[in-house]
Amino acid sequence: MQRIGVFVCWCGSNIAGTVDVHAVAEALKNESGVVFSTDYQYMCSQAGQDIIKNAIAEHKLTGIVVCSCSPRMHEATFRKTAAAAGLNPYMVEIANIREQCSWVHKDMLSGTEKAVILGRAAIAKVHLNAPLTPGQSPVAKRALVIGGGIAGIQTALDIADAGFPVDIVETKPTIGGKMAQLDKTFPTLDCAACILTPKMVDAAQNELIKIYSYSEVSQVSGYVGNFDVTIKRRARYVKEDLCTGCGLCTEKCPQKKVPNEFNLGMDNRRAIYIPFAQAVPKIATIDPDYCTMLKTGKCGICSKVCTAGAIDYTAKDEYITEKYGAIVVATGYNPISMEKFDEFAYSQSKDVITSLEFERLTNAAGPTAGKLLRPSDGEHPHKIVFVQCVGSRCDSCAEKGKEYCSKICCMYTAKHAMLTRDKYPDTEVYVFYIDVRTPGKAFDEFYRRAVEEYGVHYVKGMVGKVVPQGKKLMVQASDLIDGKQLHIDADLVVLAAAIEPDKSARPLATMLTASMDTNDFFTEAHPKLRPVESPTAGVFLSGACQGPKDIPETVSQASAAAAKVIGLLCKDHLTGNPCVASANEMLCSGCSQCANVCPYGAITYSEKEFRMPNRTTLMRRVASVNPAVCQGCGACTVACPSGAMDLNGFKNNQIMAEVDAICRN
């Protein structure tokens, strides 16, 4: 018989406001096995924990029930308290009388009644609890970073800096991500390439960092400390170890009409290409969709000009499998399609562009060599209209766009406006805004400089229609401060398109069993306290895959994720969750139903010798669970008809005892 202590928390007035905590403590005193029951203002406080510790000693408690907030909040706290008092931490059960009782019920009577019932259920469960000891599993001391933008690069550099090997998987032929496409960075206006490319080179030269470019993750199995990841290395038709990146092939390739994705299709590249001069790795890649040789078997010019003999038209996709202790997701973002926002005439005029296209137009390595020229006729624009919040902050009932604020647009638009006025003072610049959001260090000062020093016209209002007419773009907009409808004959219109997670994120989340929100951003384990961890153990989040972020924020989060990974990889062993399945060999029939449903392959079978009552022995097939691999879902326990398979911490009889206690009225 257990000796159970019950501790009812007021949580200030959070619980005590709707639940009569004294009455609950009193009522639970009468439950079988309960030898001590009390209530206290804040059970999670040091004083509250001391009450628990003292009671464990004084009343020789073998199990405790804390009626308090959600176990997701303080189960770990109270388990530690119990352990400190010499009680096995798994002899603690929480009755959730805050989130699932006092906060959702308004009536004191029914709230109290329910709290008592929840307490009873927890007591019934504790009666059947057994001390559990967590198992240990080794940690593979290598990290995987998925995505090679600034987030992934920074995370990888920091992990490698701590002495752990780390691999970067990047789908594009080069690392660098979106930042490589940018011109200047706010609020300091340093050139993106000048600060990014050294980091790219660092990553490439670091002996602990391996870059799998033009590759993607195709399969993930295992668990924290022991992930098995299959990486698909797409055929690039160029031998990476032989290519010197001389670029001769990219000059000689006769297929010149391939839209250059690095410049967002504003100019063309060849079928064999190196995305940009500072690409890492600086290796050519053949685009199989455009290569004449690959499509028709006739050409082969790149092979002829390659002195290194690096071209290999017969290359195939390759798959490699690696073991990792931790995985960092850094899949980044993309601007949304402007297809549904054609009131801005994006599809109708080349001179209506997105902000990322504007970056390329002002970038010295871009299609215009950094000269701000209109895409339609190459003329210098004299009047530019920037439109903010295109597709951001949309209500779901508008059925297009995103509900969230994309966060980076206010600042980069201020940057674009300022740089335009700085370089081309003869150009008039209008920015239409709903709100200007600049909460960052030196951000608002930056925006004010655009207005005060550079004379950018900030107009509180929105553009309703853009009409290409002749060489002009007739912009019809509102000025809500002056109470006017404006008609501006602009030369260029720049749309601050909302950003969204990369399309690869959703299938990746499924592979990682990491959760996502409705916008396909990865969910963090806790929005405030664990912002760089996914709820899935061993999976960490870096950069815009978790939510819109600017570069400073991305880099800090990237380093934070690295710190978490380093903390994990520093451990030789991980203490597992002892709430894992185990098979009762006496009951097991070896039927394999359980192994069919185990997502982790944690169940194996062996022939075992059993002594029979009549002194004979019998060889029988029985299941056994590898506690380091089992994650404790319990699928096997239901597949098992005999009940031989049970789950520690959530045993059949424990759950049924809870059911009985709840239904006992």
Binding site: E339, K340, D342, A345, V467, P468, Q469, G470
Partner: protein
């Protein structure tokens, strides 16, 4: 295919061309347009107020007649289409409204928005198919630079009308292409001509119509096509430099059904 056909009042009067060519073309394309024996005017505009029942009854009766005939309902005039389609949407999606209407009508059977409503253009796109239509063309409109003029009622509210992207529609453009014409796109093709306000504020209608015509002309359009008699009226009355025709007329011409086609 047999469909219930609702011409509406203007097509019986000032916009006979719109009606006549719609009928001729449908016949040539193997579609039987069955006009109900009795019908009432749709009312010209849909009243968005959800407490208005009486002004929507004529549309409900029409929709119900089509439902009883087991046929989809086809309209040609943009205004009729807007009213009928919005009414049908309300009947299907607003149970309170549908209930009030059904009670008001007090008929044996209830109507809950089940009739499929096609604009004639949708019929061409979704039932005939523009590819098939292109094959039926006898006198392609080769070399004609034609701009589509949608106006407001055909496309909006986009959620309800569901015909095409309300900001970047293609259906009339695709029709022009199918008929062998050269498409001219221009941004104001989905802006309002001034509509019924021209009764009270001719100046406003004039300004809007002119902006549209100028935009079309500067884009190189030599001809504008529309589905709306009021659009045609406003554009023409305000001296559009580009001639305006109904899409059905253009269709009939390409199908070789226009008697006075002089080529």
């Amino acid at each position: 295919m047999k469909v219930t056909y609702f011409p509406g009042c203007t097509l019986k009067n000032k916009a006979r061309d719109l009606d006549e060519y719609a009928r001729k073309s449908a016949e040539a394309l193997g579609i039987t347009l069955e006009e109900p024996e009795t019908w009432q005017c749709c009312g010209g505009v849909f009243t968005t107020a959800n407490d208005e029942v009486a002004t929507k009854l004529s549309s409900v009766r029409l929709l119900k007649a089509a439902a009883e005939a087991g046929q989809p309902l086809v309209t040609v005039c943009s205004a009729c289409h807007n009213v009928v389609k919005q009414t049908n949407y309300a009947m299907a999606n607003d149970p309170t409204f549908a209930d009030r209407v059904n009670r008001y009508m007090a008929e044996k059977t209830l109507y809950t928005g089940d009739t499929k409503v096609y604009h004639y253009l949708e019929l061409l796109r979704d039932v005939v198919g523009f590819e098939n239509l292109a094959k039926a063309v006898k006198k392609p409109l080769t070399g004609k630079k034609i701009g589509a003029y949608y106006g407001c009622l055909l496309l909006r509210p986009g959620k309800v009308m569901g015909m095409d992207d309300p900001e970047n529609p293609r259906i009339i453009e695709d029709l022009i292409r199918a008929l062998g014409g050269e498409v001219v796109t221009y941004a104001r093709r989905n802006e309002c001509c001034g509509g019924y306000v021209s009764a009270e504020s001719p100046a406003l209608a004039k300004k809007n119509s002119n902006l549209i015509a100028e935009n079309a002309a500067s884009a190189g359009a030599e001809l504008l096509v529309t589905a709306c008699p009021l659009c045609k009226y406003n554009l023409e009355k305000n001296g559009s430099s580009v001639p305006v025709v109904y899409f059905t007329e253009l269709l009939a011409e390409a199908l070789g059904l226009k008697e006075d086609a002089n080529d």
